[in-house]
Amino acid sequence: MGRTSIFLLSAAATVLAGTMPALSAWQPQKPIEFIATAGPGGGTDNLARAVQNIITKHKLTEQPIVVVNKGGGSGAEGYVYGKASAGDPYKVIFGTSNAWQQPLVSKVAFNYTDLTPIAAMAQDEFLLWVKQDAPYKTAGDYLKAAASGEFKMGGAQSKDTDEVLTRMIEKAGKVKLTYIPFKSGAETAVQLAGGHLESHVNNPSESLGQWRGGTQRPLCVFSPKRLPQGQKVTATEGWSDVPTCVEQGLDIKQYEQPRTVWLPGKVTTDQAAFYVDLMKKVQATPEWKDYIEKTSQVDTFLTGAEFDKFIKDDLEHVKQVAGEQGWLVK
């Protein structure tokens, strides 16, 4: 008993010491708004709400947090709102890589440079999925069958991550696929289950239930190494049993979607630093680990120069694909 309280005290002291430097800098003085650039129930919305919960539970800030959904226009609504709120440190925008990808391919009224990058918090993996009873067992078989040119690939949104990856598969596998855009990954998964498509490239969480339910299965993952060991999804297989696409002769080493956090433009360095620090604390909690595991994402934390470099690299890559496809807007 006594030992526990001493331990707790010292733990509290460490936490206090940890927060001390931040206290001297900027602190929020009124409620904070989290803007999810997706509708309720989507991946980005889940992230914003998970972070809100963790912050509230661990009292990481004194101020209350409200989550607002601004998912119109494939998320553009939220980013435009962020741009319009320049200088306001009480608006935190949760998004994906479409913060920099969307302005490349459509005439939206924002660019990622209008926002202040805080961090990339988690990476969602992409897999190549086919219908459960499809004849092909590997990505190689799939590509051979796709050479007929009759294959339909589904995905969420147009000229977005899913279609970029589809075009990369076409190039690497020397095949031609018909890309059919749907509103969301969930909708796409259902279309595959019904046999209206041959394949899609959903994130793990988007097709988890469908895999378990035996309507579709992953062929390979677009990652340099296999996914970490976790609980089995079906009776016999788990995420770590899915081979990488490179292993199977589809030469795309890595393709991931970061979950990104932003502040509006023109905020002070102190203000940005506060949120970087806040997100770091969120990441250190057991609830965060739990969230990452349940949604089958990869835990990463990119901020500052690392995050900038990530954006620049990804932008170069997408620009190249978009340029080849003639998607770039003037």
């Binding site: 509708g39 309720p40 129930g41 989507g42 919305d45 889940n46 709400r49 809100q52 919960n53 607002v68 959904n69 601004k70 119109g72 226009g73 494939s74 553009a76 609504e77 435009v80 709102y81 741009k83 319009a84 391919v105 459509s106 005439k107 939206v108 009224a109 924002f110 339909k152 949104q157 147009s158 000229k159 977005d160 018909t178 890309y179 059919i180 855009p181 749907f182 509103k183 969930a186 909708e187 998964a189 259902v190 279309q191 289950a193 019904g194 046999g195 209206h196 969480s205 988890l208 239930g209 469908q210 378990r212 339910g213 035996g214 309507t215 349940k294 949604t295 998607w327």
Partner: protein
């Protein structure tokens, strides 16, 4: 039979004191978010979601689904009393519910709506209980072409026989399609029709449009016309609540037909909104009193309400068994399911029997709780109609403004809502029909996506709409509904070719 014993087991889980308390709390909260326009069931459920993280999954889903039932009921209240639909799916209820309430019969209108809604929900739950596994497979047969066919059928059933001149119906439809096209286009990814307003990239929210068109539009008409500006001296009579519910079985055909439409649209993810419109449209065509629809007809309330609730209830089935949410609220609940550590899909029925059957049993109990609570509140809501117009008018404006703002905390939405109010007023003054406009705003966008996805799949061939039995039947039924009134008119002209006088009248009828 196996299902029955499972259901019995479910009742032992659902009918416990803590769960009954959760149902009452959920239903009351639901009625509240349903009554307040702009808040709505999906938002209400997502607000409540974080509170459920510490709960048992079965308790959590009982709370959330009870809230959903409450919101579905509550959404009808403002539609009937003030012509402001609280939920997209209660728009069709305004067509006859509001005229009846203005006519001094708000109690009858509300009780009829709630009674038929409860019937629809009950049919939905029975369907879930007995046909869960079979029905789940039906939804899978729906690809883009089938989706388009369903939307086409909804348009056809509603538009085919409009009360207004066909050209006015077409104009209203076209404006609706144009509004639905605003924002990012799913298929091409490009921005459309934002007219230089950056924020319009998000598109026009349905609630914003409807609150303006109906709520503010009606108010402007009322200000002008003295008749409307009077408070309605409605008698508040408890017995009328029971009498109205007691009269429902007389409309058995309408009830069953609407429940069937609702269940079908809920399972094939057309959703409650399309279901209620379609049911209203079909009722107007096949009811003996069809031509009186729009003036406060009982069946004009029964049809959309029954279908709305049957669809809302059966929409939970594809969510549980396939992981396809049949409505926006179901989508939020599915997010909840994942957070509670459950994975929607066929395995849920095997792995999580307590959860699934506890939920299904709670749908029976929860709906009974909801209808009891909501019938008790009828006189209270009906009393609102007695408040003088000078008091209620500013209140309606406040409700609409707050409602529009709370959709996504945006002033632009408030401005647009007021703009839609003027459009609604002009439509009414010039006798343009609002229903096709609203229908096009709601499902125009989805219909367009489905059509273009089909075209991508078939490489531009219209043959895809006749590629299998399902889609062919849907398309043929749609075309038949569209052409039926025209064919009837032609038959009439053909039968009496002799007198030129009748020919002119028949010809006039076609135009009007």
């Amino acid at each position: 039979m196996e299902n029955l014993s499972e259901l019995w087991h479910g009742f032992t889980i659902a009918v416990t004191v803590p769960h009954l308390v959760l149902m009452v709390v959920g239903v009351l909260l639901g009625i509240l978010v349903g009554v307040l326009p702009g808040l709505g069931a999906p938002n209400g459920v997502s607000l409540l979601l974080p509170l459920t993280f510490g709960m048992q999954p079965v308790s959590a889903i009982i709370l959330l689904s009870s809230m959903y039932w409450g919101a579905l009921f509550g959404g009808s209240v403002t539609s009937i009393l003030f012509n402001i639909p609280g939920e997209p799916s209660s728009v069709a209820t305004t067509f006859d519910g509001y005229p009846m309430a203005r006519d001094g019969r708000p109690t009858t209108a509300l009780a009829t709506a709630f009674g038929s809604a409860a019937f629809g929900a009950l049919i939905g739950v029975i369907l879930i209980t007995f046909l869960a596994s079979w029905v789940a497979q039906v939804a899978l047969a729906f690809g883009p072409a089938e989706y388009f066919a369903v939307y086409f059928l909804a348009f056809a059933s509603f538009v085919g026989m409009g009360g207004a001149a066909p050209i006015k119906t077409i104009v209203a439809l076209a404006i609706g399609f144009a509004i639905a096209a605003i924002g990012i286009d799913t298929v091409s990814g490009s921005v459309r029709l934002t007219m230089g307003i950056d924020e319009l990239v998000k598109g026009v929210n349905f609630v914003v449009a409807v609150m303006g068109l109906f709520g503010i539009g009606e108010l402007l008409v009322a200000v002008e016309e003295e008749f409307h500006a009077r408070a309605v001296s409605s008698k508040i009579d408890w017995r009328e609540v029971f009498r109205a519910v007691g009269r429902l079985p007389r409309h058995g055909v309408a009830l069953l037909r609407s429940a069937a439409i609702g269940c079908w649209m809920g399972i094939t993810p057309g959703g409650p909104t399309a279901a209620s419109f379609m049911s209203y449209g079909i009722a107007r065509r096949f009811s003996r009193r069809g031509r009186y629809f729009g003036t406060g007809e009982v069946e004009g309330i029964i049809s959309p309400e029954t279908a709305d609730h049957a669809a809302g209830t059966s929409a939970l089935l594809p969510m549980l068994s396939l992981g396809i949410p049949g409505s926006a609220t179901a989508a939020v609940m599915m997010g909840g399911l994942m957070i509670w550590g459950l994975n929607p899909g066929p395995m849920l029925f095997v792995d999580q029997k307590d959860f699934v059957w506890g939920l299904i049993a709670s749908m029976y109990v929860g709906n009974i709780v909801a209808v009891a609570l909501v019938l008790l509140t009828v006189p209270v809501f009906a009393a609102l109609m007695r408040i003088p117009f000078v008091v209620i008018a500013p209140l309606i404006v406040i409700i609409c403004v707050v409602g529009a703002y709370s959709v996504s905390n945006s002033y632009l939405d408030v401005v647009m809502m007021l703009g839609f109010g003027i459009v609604g007023y002009l439509f009414k003054k010039l006798f343009y029909p609002l229903a096709p406009l609203v229908l096009a705003i709601v499902i125009g966008d989805k219909a367009e996506d489905a059509f273009r996805q089909s075209m991508l799949m078939s490489k531009g061939s219209l043959g895809i709409f006749f590629a299998n039995k399902l889609v062919t039947c849907l398309i043929v039924a749609g075309i038949a509904l569209l052409l039926l009134p025209l064919a009837l008119q032609l038959a009439r002209i053909w039968r009496k070719p002799a007198s030129p006088a009748t020919e002119t009248t028949a010809h006039e009828k076609v135009i009007i």
